[in-house]
């Protein structure tokens, strides 16, 4: 069974702080997506990383895919209250029709 572990599960920080969320697995993924999910809504895609070692930036968010394509990280610089939400990583397997295996999620609260 493929498993994606995210850490931390919960993070409560002050506005302006930096943070990193980690997503780890023993499985190799063809790509990894990061989503953000608001209460009562579906996951909204933030970024896809495909190549081992790839780094992508989305404003204050930096995403990295591990060299072995088994892990990923999301770093937020100078967090703002608008960053509050549930962050999900989801790995796409090479087999079958590319179902996503979701991580356990990181719930972020940024206080003003």
């Amino acid at each position: 069974t493929q498993l994606l572990e995210q850490s931390p599960q919960f993070l409560s920080i002050q506005e302006g702080e930096n943070l990193t969320v980690y997503c780890n697995s023993s499985s190799v993924f063809s790509s990894l997506q990061w989503y953000r999910q608001e209460p009562g809504e579906g996951p909204v895609l933030l970024v896809t990383v495909v190549t081992g070692g790839e780094v992508k930036k989305l404003k204050r968010l930096t995403f990295q895919f591990g060299d072995a394509r088994k892990d990923s990280s999301l770093h937020i610089t100078a967090a703002q209250p608008g960053d509050t939400g549930l962050y999900l990583c989801a790995g796409r397997l090479n087999t079958g029709f590319q179902k996503l295996v979701f991580g356990t999620g990181t719930r972020l609260l940024v206080s003003p």
Partner: protein, 113 residues
């Protein structure tokens, strides 16, 4: 921007009844998926659908579940005889070509009484 739409947003059903959850994927997408999320748990894969047939299904997707794309636009998930443990958020997703990301709808909250 094109989006995946799901109806209804909330469905309340008596245990043992049949329920159909509906999805309209993004129009030029080829791959379709159903996932579910039990309250407080992670999102789990149920089934993938391509070229008018199921391409992969999880152990959750037993004989009580079926999917259909009856008219080339709607993609439905049917649960034949609902159980209490079917209560969850059900998400539909669609994808264009093989290496593109999956886009999700806002989900249907299914409550089984």
């Amino acid at each position: 921007e094109p989006e995946v739409t799901q109806t209804p947003s909330h469905q309340v059903t008596q245990m043992g009844q049949e329920v159909i959850l509906r999805c309209v994927p993004i129009s030029n997408h080829l791959y379709f998926y159903w996932y579910r999320q039990i309250l407080g748990q992670k999102v789990e894969f149920l089934v993938s659908f391509y070229n008018n047939e199921i391409s992969e299904k999880s152990e959750i997707f037993d004989d009580q579940f079926s999917v259909e794309r009856p008219d080339g636009s709607n993609f439905t998930l049917k649960i034949r005889s609902t159980k209490l443990e079917d209560s969850a958020m059900y998400f539909c997703a669609s994808m264009g070509q093989g290496n593109q990301p999956q886009h999700f709808g806002d989900g249907t909250r299914l409550s089984i009484l």
